[in-house]
Point group: C3
Chain length 345, copies 3
């Protein structure tokens, strides 16, 4: 039997971002609670525990109607999967590190309080050195999704143990432009209340031939009234490191969810000045369920920079980390609020 | 309950356009009767009169296989709607002025006889001054669709009164490139045979900081054998005005429809010469229904320019309004014929 | 009745290509067995033997998630079709020559052993002279698909005779960029075991105003254990000709298929040197059916060049036919292997 399913999300909200003394911008945004997207999903049972699957997933921007490049940017895979032996999957896929990191984050790395708020080639010294400071690199570097991958996933039924091993072909391209020669994987264990996991991706065609490593570890525990997560994600390239530390909580209320997060970016570099460029994000949010598929949400967050750190919430006035620029943002604060409607279909 | 529906149109025809002494071009065209498109539509009933909805609509060009930028150019919205209180809708959406204008036009603004034939930043002084004379501005200026909108729609059941209020965030972008800081709305009444309506959109980030206004009023009446429409649409930017006046008729024959239209563009500007640049479109068409979804059609039209006016039917040899250009078109005539097949699915 | 069907393919594999002394590249590739794509297909019965149809077909690259330009690159058509009188189809469609050529090829022109391996504006003198040596021309020239077409197809039920007549509007564009003023057609007969056919497309807006012709003839016969195909495809532009000669075999084993192919490119040109630039492709493959929809496959192939011929299997190190270039490939060999998973849905 084969089934073809068309599904997706449209999530649109309004956002206010104030970047210190650079002023503020009001905008409409897409995907602050759940990424707006269109998904085609296919599964065919081949008998004897074997099945084939296809997954196509395309980000869309509900505010403007735009799509990303590549069109099927979130995932484009074909796979063979066996109940007992696991799954082989080929195509464009998620970075194993991202899968663990977004699982730890009650904001699943989205919106103004997401745990990827420091994932910026412009502000993270390690990302910028490894992949260059272009808009492409900020969008396409392999800390989110990876093209040309082959991946093996452990089967379910290993007592809660799950994970994957991934390799990808660089094909002579630039990792900043999305063509990464990588290997990596994820290993995690999920019990009734506890989840613990580690993940790593090493990119071998980062700039200047040095390896870039992206490492995540973390754990979450579901207490009676709150699920608490702690974790770290470190990007390392030569002497430059950006270490993201997350402490977060999700309080399910039945009719809605409360979310709290604290993410700290600790940078280390060749000089004391570079090592002082740290930042802290605090965020809170409430999601009100109108149904299983439809929700209203509101988020608030603040990024506080130290030293010359120039992180900011996306959607505000443009900032620079160059000390002589008119919009130099080193050491300043970015504060934000957003609210919207999300519908999964 | 949720339903996901995939629908759309493919409409392809052949067109002949003769632009005065510049000669003629034969081409294949898309969307002369109904815009070729792919649509994803979702509605979830949330109970108590409330429902959530998603609408994604992407123009496609059936003649070449191309799509527009942004991909979901026609609409990308999420909405909450209540039977009694109306609807809140966020995303990329239609200009309220366009909705009324296209409702008045038996050609729904499409093809060689459509009431948007004078919607050209190259030939309308008001549009060109407000948004610039680029291809992007011709496609993306907010007289058709608007990005980053929030819109409130009146509920049904108000005795035929319907309408909406819209605001959109400019986000610091250029209105000519599709990022418009607008407010506007539409108010109309529909009885058994009579419809009357008004609409306005004001764009606050037009060139040079001046406001651009787009105003429509109109009425239609369904006589026994013919539906007659009259209306006006005025684009105003500083001293420049283009006033489109429409008188049109639709004769439903059961097995088909006859359509007749007369649209006059009256321009006013800073000089007598600019004010003399007027033009008149006359058009006629026949649509033959093979089924509710499938039709054959044929249209004929002529644009006659006065003074230096250089309007032309789309699809002919390139024209210029610059008097010294070799393809200067001021005061000349553009005549056109087209015929095609349309299938809605 | 109307039916809307969403279907498609994701086919991803890994490929190794060694280009003589230029070295080798390992890559992940899409569509080596069947083109990865998303298809929307509609058919409405109109009664009395008449039906309307829509076909939208978009290549996707399963390895990277990318799509082609135009988005609906494979086909975008609307059609009216009658059981007895045949079909009229408008839009972007396949070249009649390609339809016959791919039917003769057990590899349906895909992957490293496909019969389009010599379809390169960079290496075929006739294609390069006619359409220019740009990446666009290599992708968009009208030997694969043609925009702005109108086509008539013979009905079924003519005792095995089938075929079509096609014209397309050039619309003043460049044939290398996909806008071709063409006429052409295909005529074939299929019996129980034998198929014979001829096809031609003439492009009237090739470079320098000369006509470009693309001609195919071929036959296939289904013996008890093997289907054998022979055929020729000739591209001709002025004094330059590239003649592809195909001899191929398909051995259906039930659980899988064996495929063998030999394609020879014989070039003729203004000089003896140009006429000596010939090449030969040999290829073999095995497709293992996991179901009707899902398959594993492995292909091997080799291109051997003579004289200054510089054909190569796609996916290897970049080659040049310029004798002074560091990556000059004249007379060298390209060898390749690929293996992957294909799922049709």
């Amino acid at each position: 039997q084969t089934s073809v399913a068309l599904s997706g999300t449209v999530d649109v909200g309004v956002r206010h971002v104030k970047n210190g003394r650079l002023g503020s911008i009001d905008s409409e945004v897409s995907g602050a609670n759940t990424t707006s997207k269109l998904v085609v999903q296919v599964r065919e049972s081949l008998g004897n525990g074997l099945s084939a699957g296809v997954y196509l997933d395309s980000t869309l921007l509900g505010d403007t109607g735009a799509v990303n490049t590549p069109f099927w940017d979130r995932r484009a895979t074909v796979s063979l999967s066996h109940d007992r032996f696991g799954e082989i999957r080929l195509g464009r896929d998620w970075a194993p590190t991202h899968l663990l990191w977004s699982e730890l984050d009650p904001f699943i790395t989205l919106g103004i309080a997401g745990a990827n708020s420091f994932r910026s080639v412009f502000a993270s010294q390690a990302l910028g050195q490894a992949f260059g400071v272009s808009t492409d690199a900020n969008q396409l570097n392999p800390t989110l999704r990876i093209a040309n991958t082959a991946q093996y996933f452990l089967p379910t039924g290993l007592g809660g143990v799950h994970g994957s091993l991934l390799v990808s072909a660089g094909e002579g391209g630039s990792a900043g432009a999305g063509a990464a020669k990588t290997d990596g994987g994820r290993l995690a264990w999920r019990g009734e209340r506890l989840m613990v996991g580690v993940a790593q991706v090493t990119t071998r065609n980062a700039n200047a031939g040095r390896d870039f490593t992206d490492r995540v570890w973390g754990a979450s525990y579901e207490f009676k009234v709150v699920k608490v997560s702690v974790g770290q994600r470190q990007w390392r390239y030569g002497m430059d490191k950006t270490t993201n530390t997350l402490v977060a909580a999700l309080v399910p209320l039945g009719f809605g969810d409360l979310k709290f997060t604290l993410v700290r970016a600790d940078q280390q570099g060749a000089t004391a000045a570079l090592s002082a460029n740290d930042a802290t994000l605090i965020g809170a949010g409430y999601v009100h369920h109108l149904s299983k598929r439809t929700a209203l949400y509101a988020h608030a967050s603040r990024i506080a920079n130290k030293g010359g750190a120039s992180f900011s919430v996306a959607g505000g006035p443009a900032v620079s980390r160059v000390a002589t620029a008119v919009n130099y943002f080193g050491g300043q604060r970015s504060t934000a609020f957003e609210s919207g409607i999300r519908h999964n279909f």
